[in-house]
């Protein structure tokens, strides 16, 4: 542990030497962020007004993110200064030489594991939890453990992303096994099969999951608690199961950033406590800045863990296994 701390500190000191030069950043004029994250316009506006450098948000769907960035990079036309996305995507971009090392001074206090890489800083976890319609589900019926989702009373009343194809959902199911949330692998498999037996309705990703719960078409969604904030005043709440798991989100500097100083300034701003507080307050994100939590009841006390990064081969292989379970006729 001591060695890790020493390593992190030395990396921090070396990288800090290249921290953002505000005057140069202002001369460059703008910083372009490539990401796919909900409702961060207030953050971009805040960056522009407080730092004097224009923040530009280029939103690219997750399914097209890698194809777009690599195509632009290979053609020498990558316009991104800063890239932000799920950790596995950033890891691939790092391997392809798209990213450059940068350790922001704003990352002080973040968990060690979030700073273990010299290039990618993990700043949040896309935490997954059951959310439910609090007008239609009685408090006594709200699931308290993951196993409660397998109760036959929820048959035809659950909506979730397709567990055969949706990468984050596949990773989440595997994460429940690997994080030893259940007493044994058999208990975990019983949970998966029990969930499948309740015939959940499948949608393509997390974003279409809250709507059927809001309208009462379904009662529970395997979804994200952040929707309690972004979909307010919809009658949504989350089932306090423990622990909560999710894929880490990272941010990194582009190796050939057209505005390198503005890019560093942007990362410093993004990782600052103020920006992270805005992200938690406005978007309901679970962030890793110390002491910052989204304003959702119970989240500050919840145990939220990052899921191990699965390779695409593992995701495909698990997807096939879940397909045989969830699509069994």
């Amino acid at each position: 542990m001591k060695k890790v701390s020493l390593l992190v500190m030395s990396m921090f000191l070396v990288a800090s030497a290249f921290a953002a030069d505000i005057d140069k950043a202002k001369a460059e004029g703008k910083a372009n962020l490539y990401a796919n994250i909900t409702a961060i316009e207030p953050l971009m506006e805040s960056f522009t007004s407080t730092q004097g450098v224009e923040g530009i948000y280029t939103r690219i769907s997750t399914s097209k993110y890698l194809a777009t960035v690599l195509t632009e990079h290979d053609a020498g036309k990558l316009q991104a200064d800063v890239l932000q996305g799920p950790l596995p995507i950033l890891q691939t971009l790092k391997d392809k030489g798209v990213l450059a090392p940068y350790r922001s001074p704003s990352a002080v206090g973040y968990p060690d594991w979030a700073l273990a890489d010299d290039t990618i800083v993990q700043f949040g976890i896309e935490y997954v939890a059951p959310i439910y319609n609090k007008e239609l589900v009685k408090p006594a019926d709200v699931p308290k453990r993951y196993e409660d989702l397998t109760d036959p009373k929820w048959r035809d009343k659950i909506v979730m992303p397709d567990p055969a194809t949706h990468a984050t959902t596949i990773s989440w199911l595997v994460g429940l096994k690997e994080s030893k949330v259940f007493a044994s692998d058999e208990a975990w498999m019983a949970f998966v099969k029990g969930l499948a037996a309740n015939k959940p309705m499948f949608v393509k990703s997390f974003s279409p999951t809250p709507a059927p719960v809001e309208s009462g078409e379904k009662l529970i969604a395997i979804s994200m608690p952040k929707y309690i904030i972004t979909k307010a005043p919809a009658p949504l709440d989350w089932a306090h199961v423990s622990p909560l798991l999710g894929s880490p989100r990272g941010i990194a500097l582009a190796a050939k950033a057209p505005h390198p100083n503005a890019a560093r300034l942007f990362i410093d701003f993004w990782l600052s406590k103020n920006a992270m507080q805005m992200l938690a307050d406005k978007v309901g994100e679970y962030v890793l800045a110390p002491g910052v939590f989204p304003p959702i009841t119970g989240i500050s006390d919840a145990k939220v863990l990052p899921i191990r990064e699965l390779s695409d081969e593992e995701i495909a292989s698990w997807g096939e296994k879940f397909k045989t379970i969830f699509y069994a006729k």
């Binding site: 909900t38 890698l66 397709d162 194809t165 990468a167 974003s207 809250p210 009462g216 919809a234 997807g319």
Partner: protein, 561 residues
Amino acid sequence: MIRKPTLTTTLITIVGFLTVCPVVMLLFGSFSEGFGSFGQFTTAKYIAAYTDPALLEILWNTVIFTFGSAALATGLALFLAYMNTRTNIPFKGLFGVISIVPMMIPHILFAVSWALLLNPSNGILNRLLMDVFQLSSAPFNVYSLGGMILVEGLLDLPIAYLIIAPAMSAFDIALEESSKVCGASTLRTLMRVTLPVLRPAILASAILVVVRSLASFAVPSVVGMPGRIYVLATHIYRSISTGFSADYGKAAALGMSALAASITLIYLYRYLTAESGKFVTISSRGFKPSLIDLKGKRYPFFAVVGLVSFVLIVLPVVVLFYTSLVPYSMVPSAKAFSMMSFKHWIDVLKDPISVLSLKNSLTLGVFGATLGVALAILIAYVIVKVRTPAAGILESLSFLSFSFPGIVIGVGFMWFFVRTPLYSTMWALLIGYIATYLPYGIRPLSSAFIQIHSHLEESSRVCGASSFQTLRKIVIPLLIPGIVSGWILMATMFLRELTLSVVLSRPGTEVLAVQILRYAEDGLWGKLSALGIIMIGISSTLVLGVTYLGRRFSRVEVVDR
């Protein structure tokens, strides 16, 4: 003077450049290792794509889905177009506009509206029917192959209507009169004369709907996935979404089968309409389409058309409007009505990106459709009047980008444009739109061209006019209904275009699709619905404007008999 071979060659070059480049990039990508379009050669992506045991069932679902949608859209369009153009049914102008409303709505929204109406748990229509008829379970389940066909068929109704209606309105009275003189009833005349003569338009419409539904993603994802029914487009999506490194090469390999199916259909269409002389209805002799007097059946027919239009088209739009007023997804109730406000509308109109994207989309819609129709007139002319093997190639080329599944073709354009200075400019969007949706201009125009006899052009030339003058002074005025249809199809498509825009649009060149995608990805259906209604408003204004202009300039007179 324009010489036909030169015109054909020039058009092949232009259309080839527009449509072949992205498809060739996808072809390279499908044979390349890695994520790009120029990697080490491999056939692994094809092997992986086509040895999937699930593929057979998916292809079968795809056939039922596409042909079912085509049958529904074409059948409904025939009925509505016949009522609208050939009878004296009241309020026909209104039904004309209603028939093309689905063209103006972002498909994802229309699909979500139908899910709200017909989902088996608490669908509004299902609940109503259960209450009225005391049923114990929901009578309809939209999450089924039938539901998918219903929604896709309705979404593609405008394509079918805008191809069939001009052909129907340019119908030679002499043919029907001869039939009636020989003692045939109106129904028999319709079945034995009118419909057979309209064969090119009917086939054109059916083929276009098959190709479009093959490439469609919104309905299969919103309606099909919850019912666990997969078609080619959602299968392709699965292949790129399982894992974080989306492999568009493999998706392109799967998309090649859609392309092959589309090209086969086009050649089939050319074969079935080979004797184009049979379908000529505007010759040099007196051409006056006639109106059929429905007499006492005017109002019963009006009630039928009204009900069909209301349930199938108006109701989902009403649901959309309702969704734009409630704070979150709610079934109608006293509470829902008490919470209604214009908050979503205000948010949308105050958002600077929404305003910019409205401006950009309107520019692309008007400018792009005008350019696209101009190009389509020339292409349709060559396809119909020249009919050489080169014309067949031109027709197939025009369908290349169009028939590729939407989620893949955008990446093909990106791989192409990134090698040009046009990348991330409005020009890339303009060229991409025209290249992809060229068939929307060509199909109504070629159906219209087929009906114009070459005697008219020959007479003009005998009187000393050049080919260009003949085209401008004789042919184009007779083509006005086709031009109007093509322009409407292209402009409304460009206004709500999603598949290319999400890949090619960048800050500054945002279009409505960018906003639509943002709202959809964030699940903000209220704002999405408000923006959808604004889009319908803009498109309706354009449609009414261009229809009015078309009527003013058209030399086709419809006489009431």
